[in-house]
């Protein structure tokens, strides 16, 4: 912002400044306050939960308890593996398929692309129920195979994103590479993929986030031992008498979300750019 300081319009009156900043500050407060409250509760003593507004001493021990009381590490590893494997597979496959749709001709290409978009619109559960029956019949419930299979078949959203992205690449590059004797796979790997940074980042983040945050499918497909952090975090921590420990639960929630926020703070510009360059404008 400071780089264009000399050109930035100077607010003429304080009334105008108030009008410009008032609503946005108010909205930001409303958005952030409940999140802020989670952090506050996570640092209270359990005895302070219903009584004191703010903790007298910050109880960092809650974070320690959140890790030790729930076998947090194991579920985090499960989530990391499942989200990472799915994101990696889905992004690579979707990029390849998107490249196929953007750059190669074949009979029925446009109809097939409409099918890609149509599967995006079918309600998730309509598709999942028969898949669930299928997975149960071939005996891969309680394993991570469903996510691997989903990853290997790509994601309609990401295929769409990559097709739009690659369609804007100059064709001269392909022609030049083709003259040099490169096949389509090499052109994809050496020209398209290395230049797809924003689209790769944006789709990888969304694919990762989808699995990391999903509660429904691991809840239905996995069991208590090999399930993900999302399923574990849906249940409150309890003391030996079965009373809920809101403070420790909130510490667990913070630990569950924190990696994502750090990741996003770093990658935010890619996401906006990914959406701008792919031109999702209806």
């Amino acid at each position: 912002m400071s780089s264009r300081g000399a050109l930035a319009p100077v607010p003429r009156a304080s009334a105008e400044t108030a009008l410009r900043y008032g609503p946005v500050v108010l909205a930001a407060t409303a958005f952030a306050l409940p999140i802020f409250w989670v952090v506050v509760v996570s640092l209270k003593k359990q005895s302070e939960y219903g009584s004191a507004l703010f903790p007298a001493d910050l109880q960092w021990v809650n974070y320690e308890l959140a890790v030790t009381l729930a076998d947090f590490g194991r579920f985090a590893v499960n989530s990391l593996f499942l989200s990472g494997a799915y994101a990696l597979l889905a992004v690579m496959v979707s990029a390849l398929v998107g490249y196929g749709f953007a750059r190669h001709q074949g009979p029925g290409r446009n109809k097939l692309f409409v099918l890609v978009l149509a599967t995006w619109m079918v309600p998730g559960l309509v598709l999942f129920v028969p898949q669930f029956v299928l997975f149960a019949r071939i005996g891969i419930t309680n394993t991570y195979w469903p996510w691997i299979l989903w990853g290997l078949s790509g994601s309609p959203f990401a295929i769409f994103l990559f097709r739009q992205f690659f369609a804007s690449f100059p064709r001269e590059l392909d022609d030049a590479a083709e003259v040099d004797g490169a096949g389509p796979l090499r052109i994809f790997l050496q020209i398209y993929l290395p230049n797809a940074g924003p689209a790769l980042a944006a789709s990888a983040i969304f694919m990762f986030l989808w699995v990391w945050g999903d509660w429904l499918y691991p809840g239905l497909l996995l069991h208590q031992e090999n399930t993900t952090l999302a399923v574990r975090m849906a249940n409150a921590y309890v003391d030996p008498h079965g009373n809920p420990l809101q403070t420790v639960t909130m510490a667990g929630v913070v630990l569950y979300v924190l990696p994502l926020i750090a990741f996003f703070a770093f990658a935010q510009r890619f996401i906006v750019r990914g959406i701008v360059t792919t031109g999702i404008k209806g």
Binding site: M1, P9, Y21, V24, A28, F31, A32, P34, I35, W37, V38, V41, G50, V93, L96, V97, G100, H104, G106, P107, R109, M121, V122, P123, L125, V126, L127, V129, P130, F132, V133, L134, L149, L152, S153, G213, W215, L216, L220, A230, M233, A234, N235, A236, Y237, V238, T249, M250, V253, Y256, V257, L260, A265, Q268, V272, I275, G279, I280, K281, G282
Partner: protein
């Protein structure tokens, strides 16, 4: 596939199939999209056909021995199912709140952070944050915020009301669900609006300003009409998402704190997909539940087509960038 550019030294009357240029191109195309195509057939098309057939049976998810074809019975039953009708009513009500309010908020946020203001990146991040937070965590955020025992909301209300001991999740569960949904979706819609705003050439607004238009007039008569394709996109996706809400009401069920997820949500938040979920996975009525979901799909499709039809009147595609 470099062979495609070879010039053959002599005319071959009937080249082998694999040598023909168009065949090679088609094979290349199908090889490239084959992962999706195989996945689509095995995990998309076949299951969808199976699900459709399943909706005409009494399938229970386990036994094929008792499988019977029941014709349109499931659909007849669904149309007369009082729970399904109630749930559809609640779902449409929630949609009627969440979609317009959410859309207006997303647009307002995008307009606000698109101004030349200080810290606009920080504001964007704050508005985007709830969209990044997984549903499980988002539900906890609001459960704790509105909790009568340790929540901040009732404390804040205490500043204006005498004794606000409001049990939000018991007495106003739909309000909490609506706020949670709007809050969680706002960032995603805002980013799409921002992309749309950045696609409007600055000259249009500058020209209007030079002609003496006020800032409000520029927004109303230049920015908004040019944004209608984005509004339409967010409206359609918003409706599709709102009609399928499932996880939030399930996790938001009050019960004993934290031991509740997976149980039936309070009556007010008994939404249509929740009903289908319970019929399928709790009562094991796979056939009947599938019929319920296909009916929803018909409603979603119908609404989308209806919107598409009205869009000709108000969505403005006139300007080439």
């Amino acid at each position: 596939m470099a062979g495609a550019t070879h010039i053959l030294p002599r005319v071959v009357p009937r080249p082998a199939l694999w040598r023909r240029r168009d065949v090679r191109r088609a094979v290349t195309f199908y090889l490239l999209i084959s992962p999706w195509l195989v996945g689509f057939v095995l995990l998309g098309a076949i299951p969808l056909v199976a699900a459709f057939l399943m909706s005409f049976t009494n399938y229970d998810g386990l036994n094929l021995d008792y499988l019977r074809i029941v014709g349109a019975d499931n659909y007849v039953r669904a149309l007369g199912d009082a729970d399904a009708q109630y749930a559809l009513g609640r779902t449409l009500l929630l949609m009627a709140i969440v979609v317009p309010v959410g859309l207006a908020l997303q647009l307002a946020l995008a307009l606000m952070v698109n101004q030349p203001i200080r810290f606009s990146n920080i504001f964007r991040t704050i508005f985007y944050l709830p969209y990044v937070i997984p549903v499980v965590a988002g539900v906890w955020v609001w459960k704790i915020f509105v909790d009568p025992t340790g929540g901040l909301l009732n404390v804040m209300l205490g500043a204006v009301l005498p004794d606000p001991n409001i049990r939000w999740l018991v007495d106003y569960p739909t309000a909490v669900l609506a706020v949670l949904t709007i809050w969680g979706a706002a960032g995603g819609g805002m980013v799409v609006f921002l992309a749309g705003l950045q696609g409007i050439p600055a000259e249009y607004r500058e020209a209007a300003m030079i002609d003496g238009a006020s800032r409000a007039q520029v927004t109303r008569f230049i920015t908004l009409p040019l944004l209608t394709p984005v509004i339409f996109f967010n409206l359609v996706t918003g409706i599709i998402v709102a009609l399928q809400i499932l996880v939030q009401p399930m996790l938001l069920s009050p019960g004993i704190l934290g031991l509740s997820p997976g149980t039936v949500p309070p009556r007010d938040n008994y939404l249509y997909v929740v009903h289908a979920y319970i019929e399928i996975f709790t009562k094991q009525l796979f056939g009947y539940g599938s019929a319920l979901l296909w009916l929803l799909f018909a409603v979603v499709l119908g609404l989308t087509l209806l919107l598409l039809k009205t869009s000709r009147r108000w969505v403005f595609y006139g300007v080439e960038p």
